[in-house]
Symmetry: C2
Subunit: 343 residues, 2 copies
């Protein structure tokens, strides 16, 4: 045995030892552990004392075996690690998930997988009864395996799946992107802006589509032209490119609704490059209320989405599912406007 091995000198105490020390049967100890009401006050005290003395912790494996539940849930991230971890939005979502799970007996298994198709190992893991449920967080939604995962396992998705891969029985938590976008554009309109363009995200992401729709809603309602659109890719560089294209094609532009703060941050750079002042010449409203919103010289007015709450609700929904309850299939979270300098 190597010196690196750090085995517990006498092994971990078992329920049986607790029972012996407390002078009761194992069943009684089990009842105490599981908070059964069928235990007399004095016996309860004795058992709890024994548990504390021995520093007893129930063995998860043994428990799982008999309970036929693994007490663990998978956090599936079908996304490039850089892309995922680099996004403050996801950071909050994960934090929310973790927070909610902290109040439960479940643990989180991190499954980083390739966006287009999870590895065989991950598939077997997910389908092989190694987790009781799964949480899928990603902007993507084209994957077949994951899309149909909900048929074999309780799954909650973060963000609405795209129309063609969504299954009727799916559970997902979404942000009201359309209403949020609309709210942002309404703010621009209220500020007196009349020539409002938008920079969208990729066309294959529901969030992009919905935000563009919201932009259009507000413009139509205000009787304004909704013809100025540039497609971005949710990156800063993309925001720069799109903004340049937009201002060059439409010199009369007086406002920009940008589908993400990161892209908006690029827009700020591009506008400066062209010598346009924000918000004087061009007002900007972003989306996310990410750290990027306050990173530049001019604070970004933006639509905040409750990323952490998204995580909490995702976890909560899955937990309810696992508890045999009937949570809503779709939960839509509200956004709100955060006013800063850019609009």
């Amino acid at each position: 045995m190597s010196d690196g091995t750090l085995a517990h000198p006498m092994g971990r105490p078992t329920l049986e030892e607790v029972a012996r020390v407390a002078g009761v049967s194992r069943a009684t100890v089990s009842r105490v552990i599981n908070g059964s009401p069928r235990v007399s006050a004095d016996v309860l005290a004795v058992v709890e004392k024994a548990i504390a003395e021995l520093d007893y912790v129930p063995n998860r494996a043994a428990r799982s075996l008999v309970a036929r539940a693994t007490m663990s849930i998978a956090l599936v991230v079908p996304e490039d690690a850089h892309r995922f971890f680099g996004d403050p939005y996801f950071a909050d979502v994960v934090q929310g998930i973790s927070d909610r799970l902290d109040d439960s007996d479940y643990v989180l298994n991190l499954q980083l997988t390739h966006p287009s198709s999870p590895s065989e190992k991950t598939k077997r893991y997910l389908l092989g009864g190694n987790v009781d449920g799964a949480l899928v967080v990603s902007h993507h939604s084209g994957d077949h395996f994951l899309a149909s995962l909900g048929r074999s396992l309780p799954v909650v998705f973060g963000g609405r799946p795209l129309g063609d891969v969504a299954n009727p029985g799916d559970y997902y938590i979404d942000v009201d992107n359309r209403a949020g976008a609309r709210r942002g554009v309404e703010h621009l309109v209220a500020r007196g802006r009349r020539t409002i363009a938008t920079i969208t995200g990729p066309a294959d992401m529901p969030a992009s589509v919905d935000r563009e729709l919201g932009w259009r809603d507000a413009l139509t309602a205000a009787g304004l032209d909704a013809g100025r659109v540039a497609r971005g890719d949710f990156t800063e560089a993309g925001g720069i490119r799109a903004t340049l294209a937009l201002v060059d094609a439409h010199p009369d532009l007086d406002a920009l609704f940008v589908a993400s703060d990161l892209m908006a941050s690029g827009a700020l750079l591009a506008l400066e490059e062209r010598g346009l002042r924000v918000p004087d010449d061009v007002a900007i409203v972003g989306f996310d209320d990410s750290p990027y919103a306050t990173r530049g010289k001019v604070g970004l007015t933006t639509i905040a989405q409750p990323a952490q709450q998204m995580g909490v609700v995702m976890a909560d929904t899955l937990l309810r599912l696992l508890a045999g309850e009937n949570p809503p299939h779709v939960t839509t979270l509200d956004t709100h406007l955060v006013e800063r300098d850019s609009a």
Copy 2:
């Protein structure tokens, strides 16, 4: 039963069923699963066929119970989620860990904990025999619980613990920050720079200390003055502040060695603010080779650290520890210079 419950129609096949289908005993099936050589070729074939037919996957809990191993390891992140996930460096480390673990039978349990002191739940979890080992990734290192965790559980740290909390028996993987910093400054010297200041990270992080030391090494070796130091905090805003202070106090400055790309990115902004050109007036070398290095208008010359490899080696070291081997207590990874425009 709610409609949300997605139980497998007939339950998951057990080893016993495989045995029945294959017409052998459970012991034999077990041997096949575990790759025992004491199985005849024909029996092996029959059993494998049965396994494939039934799509059998061994039950982890049952296995863990008898093996007295959980086959799972904790990824402890004693860091604010934003701070952690927002750092591309960590993203790579996690990717590396995940990659390495994909080739093993272990799964990763994500444990997000408060930087200063893990929750009771996390402590119990870690100490309660729920994982076979732990990987601790963080810039911080002042926590007592984590620092001593290695005494109760096989643990591998990412980054050298600070002197006063490091235990002799600890295992950790580190980057040769000092040599890397020195290399960066040498590059500046070779480029003809003579008045080279540095922006450091927080004084309580080993990486900061080492990088400052490396900066000093190079300057001393070149016979240059190592008196211009500004303390940063590894944030962009901190980089801006430090740079402003530096250029105002030392107008003769012709180069900056900045302890992180994020801070260097702030330096770029600050220099522009002061009307100083990069690299003409002031050359800059950063550290990390993170996405920030290529985000701005001028590409950042920087010291690349092998973040992903760090993760791989961390996982690998822990795996070896768990296998009863004797991996090195300290592994130091090399850095290399990446030349771009800033120096």
